[in-house]
């Protein structure tokens, strides 16, 4: 009843195009942000951090990235796993080559490297679309994973072929390495996520975002009315890969600490992130968050129910998890192709007009 559009008048265009045009949304956002930054860090333990919070924050960044490319610009990519790997290995190489560099800068640089690689693999998108492009992005996935597996330079010739993250700290707190505390790692990832979500929102509401959506909805018309397809598509690939690269760097350095490329960044990662944006909502910033949260929580929930509660073996839980996720994808594509975000939007629309819908 208090969620209202009426009375919240906009008198300038500036007000009308702000991040959260609705007053209540704005307050809701401030409250969530305050809780996330000021309350949660005091209550989380190691289990929650590594099982739920860190994966959620990191996958949310990756999902934002893929959503920019697939949801906003309409270019389906199955190469997310490969780009995550670029972020991770970029991060590792920079960390070990420049030990004094601030970890925050390292993560952003990894993003930039991934952006460059992403643009390279985005070039075919100028000629091909749809699932042709999806197949072409598989090339990125398989080639990049092979590259990091086979070229010793990328893992500094370590005997195991793994890369592991050295300790780096900011303001005296360890961010990476075995001594990093859960709240610190959480806050580091949270800060990056909030920053990047804000950037994503800015990019998608302005000229660039409109040119992406125009390409998605009708590429030929978009070009004819003056949208440069080369620049739009490549910028979508670049921005998307930047986000995914940052996610990959965090995945390696803050979350796992040590990774082996084939295991951590296989094709299943590509699918997982794609599923997140399908379930959350294609072309929705909020949807990227919801989708990431959903697909991080579902396995945890299933595992808790089946393994800890019912006492079933883990492999059965994993098989059922696959079935549930695959089934959910089909259900969502059939029932609500715009994902959970759309359900949320519809609920909000209803509520805005309640109790007089006409």
């Amino acid at each position: 009843m208090f969620y209202r559009q009426a009375g919240d008048f906009k008198t300038t265009y500036r007000d009308d195009i702000q991040t959260f045009p609705l007053k209540q949304d704005r307050w809701g956002y401030y409250i969530v942000l305050a809780i996330a930054f000021l309350v949660v860090p005091f209550f989380i333990n190691d289990y929650w951090t590594s099982a739920v919070m860190l994966p959620f924050l990191i996958y949310a960044i990756a999902a934002l990235g893929l959503n920019i490319l697939t949801g906003y610009c309409g270019q389906v990519s199955l190469g997310t796993g490969g780009f995550l790997a670029v972020g991770a290995y970029g991060c590792y190489k920079i960390m070990t080559s420049f030990p004094d560099l601030n970890i925050f800068v390292v993560v952003l640089l990894s993003g930039l490297i991934t952006a460059a690689v992403g643009m390279l693999f985005g070039i075919p998108s100028l000629r091909i679309k749809g699932f042709y492009l999806a197949v072409a992005t598989l090339a990125a996935q398989f080639f990049l994973v092979w590259l990091f597996n086979k070229v010793p330079w990328f893992y500094n010739n370590s005997a195991s072929g793994q890369i592991s993250s050295p300790e780096r700290s900011m303001f005296g707190y360890a961010i990476t390495g075995p001594n990093a505390d859960a709240p610190v790692r959480y806050l580091f990832c949270l800060t990056l996520l909030v920053m990047l979500a804000w950037v994503a929102r800015n990019l998608t509401r302005g000229r660039l975002g409109r040119s992406w959506m125009a390409i998605r909805d009708m590429d030929i018309a978009a070009e004819i009315i003056g949208v440069n397809p080369l620049r739009s598509k490549l910028s979508a690939f670049a921005v998307s890969s930047f986000f995914i690269g940052v996610a990959g760097a965090l995945f390696f350095s803050v979350y796992l600490g040590a990774v082996e490329v084939g295991e951590a960044f296989g094709i299943n990662q590509s699918f997982l992130v794609l599923f997140m944006i399908i379930i959350g909502g294609l072309g929705s910033i909020f949807g990227s968050f919801v989708g990431a949260a959903f697909l991080v929580l579902v396995p945890v929930l299933l595992k808790n129910i089946m393994v800890n509660w019912l006492g079933w073996p883990t492999d059965i839980a994993v098989h059922i998890e696959f079935m549930v996720i695959g089934g959910l994808i089909i259900v969502f594509l059939i029932a609500e192709p715009h994902g959970l975000a759309q359900l949320w939007r519809l609920a909000k629309d209803k509520f805005l007009l309640w109790p007089f819908p006409h």
Binding site: T12, Y13, R14, D16, I17, V199, N202, L203, G206, R207, L208, R210, S211, M213, A214, R216, D217, M218, I220, A221, A222, E223, I224, I225, G226, V227, N228, P229, S235, V239, G283
Partner: protein, 269 residues
């Protein structure tokens, strides 16, 4: 001021804005256009008419650079065009609407029209990413212009509605708005009144004439309704089987034997 208005700044009304010279276009073995030549003068409404499959839409596609003719030249603002991509031509001030509505279905009316404005926006990616400063200022400035178009076309109430949900007539109007947002020098309209009832056609005709008089825009229009075409256009080109069979004022076209034959279906020699 963008490239388009700069290019056209020394062309006075009544002078030649665009010249099509000896254009031939074919797809594989199928000839779409054969040796077509005509010109468009600044400030006029120039109609392209002809029976179905006469090559009218192909002609527009040649003008805005989507099709590249095998033979012939396009002269625009006194310059010969060579090897330009469609979006570059849009930046030179040529905007258009489409026969089958080609709106961006997932976007709101406002966003669609704002996209049409992109030839006037140039804030870089970094400033768009942080939004403060240049990008926001540019956004607001162009939003103001777009709101003028929304007022002009009387579509204020559907500003934030996704265009996929709008009825046909309104979609056509939004599409016109998107083309107008570019402040084009030359506006190409591909059957803007197809499928409309009399009332909607009257509205659309009024908008087209208003655009011509208020913004001084040159207009090239394809339309099947002869009544409307003869009323609103200054000069007409008639195409049949990809060839030009008539060119002149409505009065001349009405009395042109070849045109009458084409429309009444005299068998080809």
């Amino acid at each position: 001021m963008n490239i388009g208005s700069k290019m056209a700044s020394n062309i006075q009304p009544g002078e030649e804005l665009l010249r099509i010279e000896n254009i031939s276009l074919s797809f594989g073995g199928v000839k779409a256009l054969t040796e077509v030549s005509f010109d468009i003068k600044r400030g006029e409404v120039r109609a392209i008419i002809g029976p179905n499959g006469a090559g009218k839409s192909s002609m527009l596609n040649v003008i805005n650079g989507f099709y590249h003719p095998q033979v012939g030249e396009v002269w625009y603002c006194g310059q010969k065009r060579k090897g330009l991509k469609p979006f570059q031509i849009a930046h030179q001030g040529i905007a258009r609407t489409f026969q089958n509505i080609a709106l961006f279905k997932g976007m709101s009316t406002l966003d669609n029209i704002m996209t049409g404005r992109s030839t006037h926006m140039r804030a870089n990616m970094l400033s768009q990413a942080i939004w403060r400063g240049a990008a926001e200022k540019e956004e607001i400035k162009n939003r103001r212009f777009v709101e003028e178009i929304i007022d002009f076309l009387e579509i204020q109430s559907i500003r934030k509605t996704p265009v996929g949900r709008l009825p046909y007539g309104l979609q056509k109007r939004v599409e016109l708005g998107r083309a107008l947002a570019a402040e084009p020098v030359l506006l190409l309209l591909d059957e803007p009144m197809a499928g409309m009832n009399v009332e909607e056609k009257e509205d659309m005709s009024r908008f087209i004439l208003d655009v011509q008089s208020e913004f001084g825009t040159t207009i090239a229009i394809i339309e099947h309704d002869m009544g409307v075409v003869m009323d609103i256009s200054d000069r007409l080109v008639v195409l049949d089987y990809g060839k030009k069979i008539g060119d002149g004022t409505p009065e001349e076209i009405r009395n042109n034997q070849a045109v009458i034959d084409a429309y009444l279906g005299v068998p080809h020699e």
